[in-house]
Symmetry: C2
Subunit: 325 residues, 2 copies
């Protein structure tokens, strides 16, 4: 190159390594001229750190995920990491092959957004020394770290708001039964109802799917008696529910109050103006990254389960509590 040894060059590009001002200057100058930059892959081989984080994500049509992805990517970029993305079917086979692919790329860590992992898969990652954190999906006993919102509390809060507004025929279109987020929010619903000595009008599994939720709403509203309020397991389904109910000729919130969960950007738009429980994406992202990086950088390896509480955002799709304007 221009004057010094390979080792010297390496030291110039390694922060915290000793190099004299003179060499630094010589090397930098030559590097600029040549357009030289260290090869991250070669560095990864020798250090064992690829600075690549694998992200497994199932659905991108739910607005919550693009937003989370963007923040995750930005925050990680700021720390010198980058995201290798894998979209995965929610089947366990799909996840398995994806995780193997991820491991082939020597990722330093894995963020699984809204997908579950079998315990054998979790064990595989553990054996390979790859930390995993579940984002927006808990899985007790999996031996994996997880960051979620306080789903039971959130479900309780949403339901309580409906009760406070004077509703009594309250239905729940639940998030998917196969997910802890779904069952936790439902638990909150049931707790609040029980506390108020109310019987749920109905509980239906919406499977986090627009079509299923819409069908459920149609059915609920077609009976001899119909609910006067519905707590829906996430915003994505709640929009479908609102569309369906309005198309049937009902007014929201005059005939039915609707509350969702997530507070995706669209919830604030005038066409829906949806009351919802906010999942604080930025704080969830922060917690995810802190947890993951501390495991990667080895300061601690014990797993963590973090729940972040979020407020109810009162908007126009649900009646206000009695006594308030």
């Amino acid at each position: 190159m221009a004057g010094v040894s390979q080792s010297a060059v390496s030291r110039v590009f390694t922060k915290g390594a000793s190099a004299s001002a003179a060499t630094v200057q010589k090397v930098k100058k030559a590097a600029d001229k040549l357009g030289y930059r260290p090869n991250v892959l070669a560095r990864a081989m020798i250090t064992g750190k690829s600075h690549i984080i694998g992200l497994v994500v199932a659905y991108l049509d739910n607005q919550f995920y693009p937003e989370a992805l963007e923040r995750l990517s930005n925050a990680l970029q700021a720390k010198g990491y980058h995201i290798l993305i894998f979209t995965a079917p929610n089947s366990s086979d799909g996840i398995e092959s994806v995780v193997r692919d991820l491991m082939d790329y020597q990722v330093d860590g894995i963020i699984a957004a809204s997908v579950s992992m079998s315990s054998s898969l979790a064990a595989l990652c553990a054996k390979a020394g790859i930390p995993v954190v579940l984002f927006n999906r808990g899985q007790p006993g999996s031996g994996l770290s997880a960051v979620t919102s306080a789903n039971v509390k959130g479900g309780y809060r949403a339901t309580q708001a409906l009760i406070d507004a004077g509703h009594s025929r309250i239905a729940h279109i639940a998030g998917w039964n196969g997910s802890l987020t779904g069952t936790d929010r439902q638990q909150g619903f049931e707790d609040a109802m029980a506390n108020a000595q109310l019987t749920p009008f109905a509980i239906v599994d919406g499977m986090y799917n627009r079509d299923i939720a819409a069908a459920a709403a149609r059915q609920l509203m077609s009976g001899a008696t119909s609910p006067d309020a519905i707590f829906v397991g996430n915003d994505h389904m709640a929009f479908a529910v609102m569309d369906t109910i309005r198309t049937m000729g009902y007014a929201i919130p005059k005939d039915v109050s609707i509350i969702g969960y997530d507070d995706v950007p669209l919830a604030a738009w005038a066409a829906y103006d949806l009351t919802t429980v906010r999942q604080p994406v930025n704080r969830m992202v922060e917690a995810t990254i802190t947890t993951l990086l501390s495991q990667i950088e080895g300061t601690d390896t014990y797993l963590q389960t973090i729940e972040i509480d979020g407020p109810l955002i009162q908007r126009g799709s649900s009646r206000l509590p009695k006594g308030q304007l």
Copy 2:
């Protein structure tokens, strides 16, 4: 390991290499037991192919991009490639540092979704032999391949539909002036108006931004005379425009017809039911991948500019052409 040389193992895991049935079996068995899989990074070093595609994306809040990202990722995954994601500010500095990062990771190719690249940056990639394709953003003279929809035609088509429906005071809230997608759609608008001997009611730059578009809509509808139809540069802005106009007390399409561009999933939802020009994401993704991979795999290196035409999707936000029901 279990019986053979390193070279033999390599051959078993390299398709198209010669290895006897016996060795294949021995190696596979040992690999299974050990959980061995080839290290992609090490392979990348020697072959010069990382099988990583860098994706630069600016905004994920416009629903068009999550959808494109998901399809891009799936299609690439099927071909053995994976996406390293970079979210970038739309400033040229931001892009520059992002592209350098990308090059450090030895990506085989770059997809730039809705961002522009300076010609010096383009030259940098060319020198490094990294093919780039622009997705949903043209840039004539950049020496870069690009895949877009037929934006001039699409703008024309949308405007013509408004004219056919009997509108005469037609305004355009344009996509960003600094982007070819924006100016092309505007060109289509102007051509159609001129052809029909109509004068545009107004043309305002919405900068692909909800707030700016909403402000523009408010202003347009507050004048002494107001437009009876608005062609908006993309769906993302169109939703904001619809919200604003409805909040002002106007009915859509009774008082004003609205047409957008993209046909994102939300456009089909009942709350908006937006007439729009479809950008055929799947075909755009296909074209992008074909172009990129053929450049990577070296079959051809000449650049291509592909425009894909999409139909107008007539929905409830705009009046039907005269003579139709």
